[in-house]
Symmetry: C2
Subunit: 335 residues, 2 copies
Amino acid sequence: MVATIKDVAVKAGVSLGTVSKVINGDPSVSDKRRERVMATIAALGYSPNSIAQNLRTANSKTISVLLANITNPFQMALAKGIEEVAVAHSYNLTISATNEQSAKELESLAMFERNRSEGIIICSTGKTKEKICSLIEKNIPVVMVDRFVPGIPCDYVGDDFSHAIDIALQHLQALGHNRIGIIHGDMNTYHGEYRHGLVLSQMRKLGLSQDKDLHKTGPYTYEQGEQAFRELLAMSVPPTAILAVNNVLCAGAIHAANQSGVTIPDDVSLILINENNFMWDIVSPGITMVTQSPLTIGRRAANIIFERLRNKEKTAFTATLLAPTLVTRESTRSL
Amino acid sequence: MVATIKDVAVKAGVSLGTVSKVINGDPSVSDKRRERVMATIAALGYSPNSIAQNLRTANSKTISVLLANITNPFQMALAKGIEEVAVAHSYNLTISATNEQSAKELESLAMFERNRSEGIIICSTGKTKEKICSLIEKNIPVVMVDRFVPGIPCDYVGDDFSHAIDIALQHLQALGHNRIGIIHGDMNTYHGEYRHGLVLSQMRKLGLSQDKDLHKTGPYTYEQGEQAFRELLAMSVPPTAILAVNNVLCAGAIHAANQSGVTIPDDVSLILINENNFMWDIVSPGITMVTQSPLTIGRRAANIIFERLRNKEKTAFTATLLAPTLVTRESTRSL
DNA sequence: TTGTACGCGTTATCAC
DNA sequence: GTGATAACGCGTACAA
């Protein structure tokens, strides 16, 4: 059906090896023969079968990415950063999503392994530790991004979430807020719990209200953001400020505010930890945020993969934490 | 280094073929042997090399997607729809982006071909027709999405953009608007020109102002949206309403309005053609829009691929146009 | 039911 | 500079 290297060799009247050399730019081919081969390649519309190439050379020219949710802008920015670097190295990029389900994560990881992906970048649910570790033991470079999971011997790149929380809470405290409602993420993932714990300890440290009802947890959905906001505002003593840890949750909260006639920041201040992309430029009131850098995370993660591919020596694993920045807009004001 | 089927066979004391049969669920293996093989597979942490499998079975279990811009929410929704279907079929998904550069599109398509991708879904710049046609001639199922390109014999799935324009313009006309500014897309892509033409003819048909200066074209960027908006408002006789054909362009326009103290819809009405996702719920004023359905487009496109993979008979190519809907919000009002 | 042998399309190592 | 030939890891007739 489709032309093979053999077809080219026969038609060009040369040997298989010669064609292979031409394809791979080996200089030890006479110009005459090279031209002839190139011409018949074009004539036949021959395209090297990289499956066979990969089998023979024992590599796949593929790196794989496991995202949490393909439609979240934050996650896609991650992917974009990775894609840039992969393309620059002429590598394929395979993308999957967990949708926060560890079963899907396991499946995807198994797929990556069967594919002989040369590197894997994971935004994990945190519940597939053994599988990830087994991949690492097989010397596949793994980089965890965004969500830290303890006990996995690999590189990590993410935002300094602890610092981000600190910035956010201190900003609110400086404005006089003490009762701060938190719209947390999913407690079914490790990093959800982890960040929850970080927030609690920071709040304690800063002497902010310890009221447990100020903490709402749930999946990373728009609806959850709405519900959490409503519940917070319905408290007998509602918070005077709210921190949302994720873009979608925050969007839900804003929508709930608009729907229920709650004015931000007059009735309650709102601050968000997320990437500061174009969409936050056009919501009004402008949302004060502590910025994350998913694009940079993606780039760094991919670069680490390629660096480990280039230099096989096992160097110490790195943990890269990107510094967050405060962007002050109209959604936070002093009490 | 990593275990092969041979290692498993040796260690389990059976033949190569037996292991292969176990892996592929062939029933003609005695339970005793099967158990033994499974056990050593687990013990060795053996994972079938799908590169070798693919070479042998002459398929790649991969479909590839070429997006315009990985970070645009519209495009991500497309990818999401495709990913859902691919995962359901246990296929890999390879994603690339053109960033509107035909050179990059060519590279990616060549990569897909070398990978022996079993199906390709393309949101094309429109300038790689020959390459796409050559892939089709090699019997690779190709589905064009979102952006129609004429003269390519393949399936197409997209929104009914002509209808969408009609709905948008008629909505504005019904509100009494005659001078309507248009923030068009990129004239360097075929579909940019195509949609431009559609708008012009619809405006003529409806008897709207034919002033050429009402049409601003440029790349699909936030900055372009800002600039186009400013230019429109700076006209000696500015438009009373503006139509933006893309989310990012529209976001730029909104930002420019906020920056320059132009009030929507008091000073100018604004309508957008795009996916109605969560972000448009939280910008204020709410933007009236004609909705597109990228998620559905992605799903349909992927389903077409798998249907053509299942049924090799060449049936007629299909063109699926999804119906747009008007969602009225606050950004449009009568003159 | 089980094992053997061949070939998928390519690269790499040889002799020539 | 060139052309056989042996792998790469696996699936699958075919024979046993």
